[in-house]
Symmetry: C2
């Protein structure tokens, strides 16, 4: 028995995209939405992100058999408590947060009588807010479900088929392992990008105008993910601290070796390292996880 009525709490890029994707791919599933910000609710109504937009979180979840929290991971607890009184006893609670261990724990605490099955669709853009969503965001992207011990197989299967319905491929994973994998594939890349863009902005010898002008040499690629939502990312680093620090320290160790090779003029070490990395790119493209066109196809657009 798959889900018939999905409540979406938080109507930014992810929440809005879920609403639009359900409408496009699962037209028989009813959607209600809520966002704590009245201006976001207004835009969500204008864009028809959900079948109904409620002005009250309790109303939004009433009769829903699946509730998906699409708020920053630090806001999950408060959001869950706000809608709790409206929940059906059998409603399944899920989310889209980028860290899973802490979310899993905080939702279990906020809603101790409900089934909680956290999930993380590995998809997004640098845009945020109710105008950023689109129905194909999850196409050909992975969605990782991290069920707690003892979660009913039937409910896991329902959540899996929901995400498959939106175009995703689903993987089941332990929450702790998820947090380590995402630390390296997503959190550290964002941390590095935010940092280098900050470094470049604060130089005295090189002006900000020069950084912008000559960004096509590589820097501009980093500015895209450094334009992501600051609240969302602050919460990710606050909530996945241990895995992020672990991966960051390995990166720093490798960067120290690279620094030493440059200092010592060790061209052989650099050539070896730089030659290893092409294969990864090729496999990412082969597996449909990135655009095969050179330069992300930027030139096709000119």
């Amino acid at each position: 028995m798959s889900f018939q009525h999905v409540a979406i709490i938080g109507l930014g890029l992810l929440g809005g995209s879920i609403g639009l994707a359900v409408e496009a791919h699962l037209p028989d599933v009813k959607t209600t939405g809520y966002d704590a910000d009245p201006a976001v609710r207004e835009r969500a109504r204008a864009r028809n992100l959900c079948g109904t937009i409620a002005d009250d979180p309790v109303e939004a979840v009433r009769d829903a058999d699946l509730v998906i929290l699409c708020v920053p991971v630090g806001a999950m607890d408060a959001a869950a408590k706000a809608f709790a009184p409206g929940l059906l006893p059998e409603a399944v609670i899920s989310d889209v947060g980028s860290s899973k261990l802490s979310v899993s724990q905080s939702l279990a605490k906020a809603l101790p009588d409900h089934t909680i099955i956290p999930a993380h669709p590995v998809a997004g853009t640098e845009e945020s807010g109710p105008d950023a969503g689109f129905s194909s965001l999850f196409h050909q992207r992975w969605c990782i479900i991290t069920p707690p011990d003892g979660a009913a197989e039937g409910q896991i299967a329902n959540l899996k088929s929901f995400w498959q319905g939106l175009g995703s491929t689903v993987e089941i994973m332990d929450a702790k392992h998820h947090d380590l994998v995402l630390a390296v594939t997503s959190h550290i890349p964002h941390l590095i990008a935010y940092t280098i863009v900050g470094t470049a902005s604060d130089l005295e010898e090189v002006t900000r105008g020069e950084v912008i002008k000559y960004s096509a040499g590589g820097f501009r690629d980093f500015t895209r993910i450094a334009a992501s939502d600051p609240v969302m990312w602050r919460d990710v680093f606050l909530n996945n601290r241990d895995a992020v620090l672990d991966m960051l320290d390995r990166f720093l160790g490798d960067l120290a070796l690279m620094r030493e090779a440059i200092r010592a003029g060790d061209g052989e070490m650099m050539f070896d390292q730089f030659s290893k990395t092409r294969a990864i790119r090729r496999r990412i493209v082969e597996q449909g996880q990135d655009d095969a066109r050179p330069d992300f196809g930027r030139h096709d657009h000119e």
Copy 2:
């Protein structure tokens, strides 16, 4: 009096694109090309990258009034010595290398009797070789010219109008300042990307397959520039060592502050830093240096 006959030495992404761009935009200018690799010359002939492809560097530059070296910066000296006997006395020598101080010095030593005006078109893709070039590579991109003291104004103006003819906007800059600006906008981003892709490939707890699968969370953006030509980049780091180490140490200092904020759970510091970086992205897009579409327009292609 602008250039009438351009010799292109090295027929990879940059050299090939110059040949095709001259044909498309400056059809009255004659082009001859040479590459030390016979297989590259064969592909260059098949793709008509230049009017004529010579099998001998001395033949390639004969009668040329502009010679552009499009080889890795560590190979400039040998390439220049190889074609030197064929040069017209009045020929201007330029290049497309990503570091300028060391190139300027090594070309001045290899060709002491010629006018050398180094240049750097800030354009490229992650592809390399004779099949990678295309005529619009320089459109809306900056080209930085770094004339040595005493270079004739008329020749600088000719080189400027050549690059403008290919669609670039030209900036004149001191070679040393160029090397600092490019260290931050291009060299450090490449170094970081090569390093993090290497770190991610070598983990034990997270498999390479997982890194590839979940790369859409941010990592894939780094793999693009980490797929760039290893020889070219080795040479950049060997030849722009001081500026690269200077900028790398500033980045490392900022990353250490970010690490400490994560360790201490300092959400305010993170929020402040993450909020500063969006403005830079916006200005890069406004100034036509990147695609305005979310996610580099990847979704438009699906």
